[in-house]
C-alpha cells in the first residue's frame, strides 16, 4: 500500500497516518469523513446534519503552526516580532510635581500620571484650588479669567500649559504654578 510516500526527514513523516502529505497533525477530513463518488455530490452537498469538523477553537492553545498560514509576508512577520507592543509601555511610575497657586498659603502635590490629557488636569486644578481657568487658544493663551496655568520645564523655563502634546508635557514638567493677576496677563500678552 503506497500511502507511505516519504516526505521530509522528520518524525512526522515516519508516522503512519491516513492524511494528505504536508498538512498539520489534525486529520484532514471532509465533514463526513470520507471521499464519496462524484454523483453523490450532484444532489447537493450542504451540510445539513450537524456533522461538522471538530471545531478548531476547541483545539489546545498551542497548535502546530501551519506553513504559510495565516498568509502574511515574512518581512511583516519579522517586523511584528521585533517590536511587539514595545511602544505601548505606559509609564506606570508616578510623577508627583509641586503645584503652587499665587496667593495660596501652601503648595500642593499632584500625580500627573493619573491624567490622560490637559482637560482632566485643568479640571483637577480648578477643583483643588477653587478657581476657574479660562479658555485655551494657541494664539492668546487662557482668556476669560485672571489665572494662567504654567509649568517649569527641564530647561528651567516657565511655559504655558497646553502648547505641546500631553505626553511631551508630562515628561518635561518639573513643577506647576498657577499665575494670577497682572503677571498672568503679562504672560498671555506676550504670546
Amino acid at each position: 500500500m503506497d500511502m507511505l510516500c516519504h516526505r521530509n526527514i522528520d518524525l512526522e513523516a515516519t508516522e503512519l497516518r491516513l492524511g494528505l502529505p504536508g498538512t498539520s497533525e489534525r486529520p484532514i477530513t471532509t465533514p463526513r469523513g470520507n471521499k464519496r463518488p462524484l454523483d453523490d455530490f450532484m444532489e447537493g452537498s450542504s451540510t445539513e446534519d450537524g456533522d461538522h469538523l471538530e471545531c478548531p477553537s476547541a483545539a489546545p492553545p498551542s497548535k502546530a503552526q501551519i506553513v504559510g498560514w495565516p498568509p502574511i509576508r515574512s518581512y511583516r512577520k519579522n517586523s511584528l516580532q521585533q517590536k511587539k507592543l514595545g511602544n505601548q509601555a505606559e509609564t506606570t511610575t508616578r510623577v508627583y510635581v509641586k503645584v503652587s497657586m499665587d496667593g495660596a498659603p501652601y503648595l500642593r502635590k499632584m500625580d500627573l500620571s493619573i491624567y490622560k490629557g490637559y482637560r482632566q488636569l485643568l479640571i483637577a486644578l480648578e477643583d483643588m484650588f477653587k478657581f476657574t481657568i479660562g479658555e485655551y487658544s494657541e494664539r492668546e493663551g487662557y482668556k476669560g479669567s485672571e489665572y494662567a496655568p504654567t509649568y517649569e520645564d527641564k530647561d528651567g523655563d516657565w511655559m504655558l500649559v497646553g502648547d505641546v502634546p500631553w505626553e511631551m508635557f508630562a515628561c518635561s514638567c518639573k513643577r506647576l504654578r498657577i499665575m494670577k493677576g497682572s503677571e498672568a496677563r503679562g504672560l498671555t500678552c506676550c504670546l
Binding site: D2, C5, H6, R7, N8, L20, P21, G22, T23, I28, T30, P31, R32, K35, R36, L38, F41, M42, G44, S45, S46, T47, G50, H52, L53, C55, P56, S57, P61, S62, K63, Q65, I66, V67, G68, W69, P70, P71, I72, R73, S74, Y75, R76, K77, S79, L80, K83, K84, L85, G86, N87, Q88, D153, V164, P165, W166, E167, M168, C171, S172
Partner: protein, 581 residues
C-alpha cells in the same frame, strides 16, 4: 486590400492605445497591422517569465523601451515555494543587453535578480530611467552601487519589499555629485543603514524628487532636515518614528511637515512614539494614502490620526485599530477606496485585540467608494457577509482571512457558503477573491455561477470534493489565476477541465489530492501547458506510483516549452517518461 493610410498614420493611431489587451487585439486584425504594432510597441508585460522566452519577445517587439516581468507564483510570498525554484532574471538581462540598447524601464516582481544583472543593466542601457524590484531577491548593495554609479538618467529606484543583502559599502554615495535626476526612491526594505549625509546631499540636489521612502534606520530626529530640502514631496515613507521626547524635535518636525504642501502619501511609521504623531496633522487633510501597517500603537492614537485624513482613499493598518477605530474611519473617511487590516498577533491562540467582523461591516456601510478590501480577523458570520455584500456591490477585490482554518459562522456554526455566495452575487464586478473559514462545495457552485468577472481566486482549507474545483474551472469565465492549498480537490476536476487551464495564466495546487498519474496525463494531453510537480522528498519521479498524491503542482500555459532551469525537486510532466531535466 491596400490600406489607404500610410503606416505612420496607423502607428500614430495605435499610440493612443495604452492597454496591452487593446494592442494585442489590434495586432490580430491583419498582417500589416501586426507588423505596425510590433515595430511600434514600446511597452511589454510578461505575466509569467516562463510563458515565453526572452528571445521570442525580443524578436517580435524590437523597439521596446519598458518591460515588466513577473516570476514566482504568488504563494511564494508565504514560503510555499522552496528556495531555488526559479524566476531568474539573468537570461532576460543578457538578451536585452544586446537587443534593447535603448531600454529605459525594468519592473520585476518575485524574480531572482543578481548583482551581475544589476551590473549588466548599469553598463548596457545608456538611457536607463526606471528600476522597480518588487519582492525580488538575490542581489546586494554592491549591485545597487553599480546602478547608482552608472545610470546617469535614473529617475526611479524602487526596491519595494525586496530582500537585499548588505555588502556594507556606501552604495548611496555612488551617485555622482553631478547626478540630479532622481524623482523616486524607495529603500524601505533595506535592513542596513544608509549614510545619512549622503542621503541628505542626494535629496538636496534632486529638485524633481517627489517620492521618498526611507528605511527603518533613518532616525526621526533628523528627518526634518531632509524634509526641508524636499518641499515638493508627494510621497513620504518615514523611518522609525521614534525619538526621545523633546519639544525641539517635535516643533522642528512639525514645521518641516507643514512645509510639504504637495504630500499625498505617508508610510513607514515603524516603532511609533504616539506623542510625535501630531507632528503630521498639518498634512493630513491632503493625504490620500496612509500606510500604518507597521505602527504598533493603540486604537485611540490611530483614530486620532486617521480621522484627520478626510480625503483618505487608501488605508493600511494593523488590527490595533479595532472595531471602534473602523467605525470612526467609516464616519470620517468618506473617500476611502481601499482598506487593508493586518493581524498584530497572527500566531496567538486567543484574540489580542477587539477587532471582529463588525469593523468590516462598519466601513462597508460608511464608505460608499470602498472597492478593495484585505481583512484579517478571527470570526465571521454569514449575516455579516451578506450585509457587507449588500452595502458594497462595488467591490472589485475582496480578500478575507479568518485566521483559524475552517472556522464556521460563529453565530450559527454553519459553513460560510451563503456569506461568500452573497459577495459574488452582489459584487458583479469582483475581480479578485480570497476565501477562508469553513466552506463546502456549495460556495464553489455559487462562485462558478455568479463570479463571471473573477480573475484571481485564492482558496485554502475549503471544499469537500472535486466538484468544488469543477464548479470554479467550468464556471468562472474570466479566471486567470487560481491558487489552492490544503483542499480535497483531485484528479477528476483537473482532467475534465484541462482545456480551461490554457485560457488561464496559472494554477497552483498544494497539499491537495492530485495524483502523479493525473499530472502525467495532463502533461501529455496539453502540450502548451507546463505541468510542474514540486517534490522535495528526494526521490525520483520514476519511483512515484500513479496514485501517489503530489505535494505541490504548478501548471501554466507557455509557448516556450518546458523550462530548462528547474531544480532537482521540480519535475516536468511533459512526456511519457516525465524525467526531470
Amino acid at each position: 486590400m491596400a490600406f489607404p493610410f500610410p503606416d505612420e498614420v496607423l502607428e500614430h493611431v495605435f499610440s493612443f492605445l495604452h492597454s496591452d489587451r487593446d494592442r494585442n487585439a489590434v495586432s490580430l486584425v491583419c498582417k500589416s497591422w501586426y507588423e505596425i504594432d510590433r515595430w511600434s510597441r514600446r511597452r511589454v508585460f510578461v505575466g509569467n517569465c516562463y510563458a515565453v522566452s526572452p528571445r521570442a519577445v525580443l524578436r517580435r517587439f524590437p523597439e521596446v523601451r519598458s518591460i515588466e516581468i513577473k516570476g514566482k507564483p504568488h504563494f511564494a510570498d508565504f514560503d510555499l515555494v522552496p528556495e531555488g525554484w526559479g524566476g531568474y532574471f539573468f537570461p532576460w538581462t543578457a538578451s536585452m543587453a544586446v537587443s534593447y540598447p535603448w531600454l529605459e524601464e525594468i519592473r520585476l516582481k518575485r524574480m531572482v535578480v543578481t548583482d551581475a544583472c544589476l551590473e549588466l543593466i548599469a553598463k548596457s542601457f545608456k538611457n536607463f530611467k526606471v528600476l522597480v524590484l518588487s519582492s525580488c531577491e538575490g542581489f546586494s548593495t554592491d549591485g545597487l552601487a553599480a546602478i547608482a554609479a552608472n545610470c546617469r538618467n535614473l529617475r526611479e529606484l524602487d526596491l519595494r519589499e525586496s530582500e537585499v543583502e548588505d555588502s556594507s559599502g556606501h552604495w548611496l554615495s555612488h551617485f555622482p555629485d553631478t547626478y540630479t535626476s532622481l524623482e523616486s526612491l524607495n529603500i524601505s526594505c533595506l535592513l542596513s543603514e544608509v549614510s545619512f549625509s549622503a542621503l541628505e546631499r542626494l535629496v538636496g540636489r534632486c529638485p524633481r524628487l517627489r517620492s521618498l521612502r526611507l528605511n527603518r534606520g533613518v532616525p526621526l530626529d533628523r528627518i526634518a532636515s531632509l524634509l526641508r530640502r524636499t518641499p515638493q514631496l508627494v510621497e513620504l515613507g518615514t523611518g522609525a518614528y521614534s525619538a526621545d521626547l523633546t519639544p525641539d524635535v517635535f516643533s522642528s518636525l512639525s514645521g518641516a511637515f507643514s512645509g510639504l504642501k504637495e504630500l499625498r502619501s505617508l508610510s513607514g511609521f515603524w516603532d511609533v512614539v504616539p506623542a510625535y504623531l501630531p507632528a503630521v496633522y498639518s498634512v493630513c487633510s491632503g493625504i490620500t494614502t496612509l500606510n500604518l501597517s507597521y505602527a504598533t500603537i493603540q486604537s485611540t492614537d490611530l483614530i486620532k490620526l486617521v480621522c484627520e485624513c478626510h480625503n483618505l482613499q487608501k488605508l493600511w493598518v494593523l488590527d490595533y485599530i479595532e472595531d471602534s477605530g473602523l467605525e470612526a474611519v467609516a464616519a470620517s473617511c468618506k473617500e476611502l477606496r481601499e482598506l487593508r487590516v493586518f493581524p498584530s498577533g497572527p500566531f496567538e491562540a486567543e484574540p489580542n485585540v477587539a477587532l471582529t467582523e463588525q469593523g468590516l461591516v462598519s466601513v462597508s456601510e460608511g464608505c460608499p467608494k470602498l472597492e478593495s478590501v484585505l481583512y484579517f480577523c478571527r470570526r465571521m458570520s454569514n449575516a455579516a457577509l451578506c450585509t457587507i455584500a449588500c452595502n458594497r456591490p462595488n467591490f472589485t477585490r475582496f480578500r478575507l482571512c479568518i485566521i483559524e482554518p475552517r472556522k464556521p459562522d460563529y453565530l450559527t456554526l454553519q459553513p460560510l457558503d451563503v456569506g461568500f455566495g452573497a459577495i459574488v452575487k452582489h459584487c458583479k464586478g469582483l475581480r479578485r477573491l480570497s476565501l477562508s473559514g469553513l466552506l463546502t462545495d456549495r460556495v464553489f457552485e455559487l462562485i462558478g455561477t455568479h463570479a463571471k468577472k473573477l480573475e484571481m481566486l485564492s482558496i485554502a482549507f475549503a471544499g469537500e470534493s472535486d466538484l468544488g474545483l469543477h464548479h470554479v474551472l467550468s464556471g468562472c469565465e474570466s479566471l486567470r489565476k487560481l491558487e489552492i492549498r490544503d483542499c480535497p480537490f483531485g484528479d477528476k476536476a483537473l482532467i475534465a477541465n484541462a482545456e480551461k487551464l490554457e485560457t488561464m495564466r496559472s494554477l497552483w495546487m498544494s497539499s491537495c489530492s492530485v495524483s502523479f498519474g493525473a499530472c502525467r496525463l495532463l502533461g501529455q494531453r496539453m502540450p502548451r501547458l507546463n505541468v510542474e510537480v514540486i517534490d522535495e522528498s528526494g526521490e525520483r519521479p520514476e519511483t512515484r506510483p500513479e496514485s501517489c498524491p503530489v505535494e505541490k503542482l504548478y501548471v501554466y500555459r507557455s509557448v516556450a516549452g518546458p523550462r530548462l532551469d528547474m531544480p532537482d525537486y521540480v519535475w516536468s510532466m511533459e512526456n511519457e517518461s516525465s524525467v526531470p531535466i
